[in-house]
Symmetry: C2
Subunit: 340 residues, 2 copies
Amino acid sequence: MNLKDLSDYLGLSQTTVSRALNGYPEVSEKTRKRVQDAAAAHNYRPNTRAKGLATGRTMSIGHVIPISARHEIVNPIFADFIAGAGEIYSKNGYDMHLTVVPDTDEARVYRDIASKGSVDGVIVHGPLQNDPRIKLLQDLGLPFAVHGRSGRGDEDYNWVDVNNARAFERATNFLIDLGHRRIALLNGNEKMDFAARRRLGYLTAHGARGLTHDPALMFSDEMTEHYGYASVLRALDHPSPPTAFLISSIISSIGARRALEERGLQLGRDISIITHDDELSYLKNGEDLPIFTATRSSVREAGRICAQMVLDVIANPTSPPQHRLLESDLTVGNSTGPAP
Amino acid sequence: MNLKDLSDYLGLSQTTVSRALNGYPEVSEKTRKRVQDAAAAHNYRPNTRAKGLATGRTMSIGHVIPISARHEIVNPIFADFIAGAGEIYSKNGYDMHLTVVPDTDEARVYRDIASKGSVDGVIVHGPLQNDPRIKLLQDLGLPFAVHGRSGRGDEDYNWVDVNNARAFERATNFLIDLGHRRIALLNGNEKMDFAARRRLGYLTAHGARGLTHDPALMFSDEMTEHYGYASVLRALDHPSPPTAFLISSIISSIGARRALEERGLQLGRDISIITHDDELSYLKNGEDLPIFTATRSSVREAGRICAQMVLDVIANPTSPPQHRLLESDLTVGNSTGPAP
DNA sequence: GTGAAAGCGCTAACAT
DNA sequence: ATGTTAGCGCTTTCAC
């Protein structure tokens, strides 16, 4: 059932039917009602492509997901973010367009997307420090918002980010307050902006307390289970091993726990860990401690905000860039204890 | 740059340019070369919507992701599956179209998708037992493939699934062989087909050994961290607590471990757990044991297979339904030990 | 081997 | 308040 069929059936012109359905005021209420009923009865939906062609808007937003060629991992955070963004899109009649690319030829994909005219805007995932994609998108004139940031010069594009630096500064301080002096950092890949900021927070806390950090206890890589496992073993093999671990991801945390189990170390007694993204933090102690984890639900919220941002830019292309720095909102407390 | 601009520039008709670019044989090689070079130089990409309108194919596949209204969780498995599917799509010039919906109005979304003509086919995620979506899609005549299955009568649609029943049967047997007699099952929501099959495998193993299962040790819900945490605590509070846990998801496994830590139970000594989806299984013991986990990489492979299936159906709509039952391919061994 | 023209399903000026 | 008409950018007959 297309517009022509429907209008033939109703004995009206396509125009009138279209107007009735799209809420134009010049249609008589009686006609509108008749049209709407018929449309509903015949399950009519305007063809998206035709509508897009005619209006010049696609009503869809692109998400480009870079995949490391090296590892078979996709950050699970992504799923929650998508869920949040999806909510906003549905609510506004938008679709979501996903492209999965090897991180090697991302630029090409953006160019494609722009010239194929398949989306009205784009969300950038997993920004690196000084990510070239941002300039590229600006040059292409494609509306976009970034989940995260990309180094300095954050003023001239739209982004939503959590305060990673502060989160890790707080977490580190918390462990220092418990008496820990050797704190290992299992960070993400520090080419990624979020990981660089986390590292910074970790270092800031050390600096403020006059503590020196030990590079041998600082790890950086894609946050797989195996990485968590292997890094913990390496840290423990250090002549002067850490008494606490600060872990960037729940997935790596599993590997880390496995390694600690193997070494017979009991959490909260022999060793402490704090894991970012760990939803369960608040369960163990109800105390109102400072906060530093970005949980699944806050990632989802970030998705909502980010999606809304692109829609805003599309609606009003000349408005100034928007920024949102989210503070995390859960309390500390996973398997942490005083230094042994 | 569109077709008209390009053909004007070349002094050719749109027809010829289109033919040259789409590999039609009647174009002279000289012209073709000239056209291709110009297209590349000007970064020309045919407009997707216009092409779609003209050909009647959208070159895009829809993925509909149901979200529980109740919980803020999205199965992380999804991300890996998407990654695999995305690879296949890119390779074949297809796009991926994502719709996130509250599980309450999924049917409407499928109807929308079908009548809006925005995709050539669909992948069904997270099938329930006797999922009504399958009949709906068959009625709508939309090509589709299911990730997973949907109860009995699996013959008349396309699916890719892992052998969940066998996986859990093996895992249970493995624990029984180690001497465990009280094995708790932390299953997913048993309305979902995969969870029902896992339960079945668990029960089959008990039945074959003449053991009775204790319903008080069998849990079923969405696989959140909190669910893992709470279920383990409940199981341990049982007058006759389990000596082992079989856990359906790595996310719940984290909660479970947290609970065990709190009770001071040491894995592999006081208590055993085996977690489905745990990538690290093979690390601890190199032994060549039977296999039962679906890992991230095999989920990715499932995504590839499933995507290829829809493309096949689209290319050849009359071909008989395809089925692929994947056996899992990693060895046992996470935090398991003999019964204490 | 190349081009003119119709049409995919819709919207939006421009009538009336 | 309703209809006519001309596109949106492409593919595809049909003609030369």
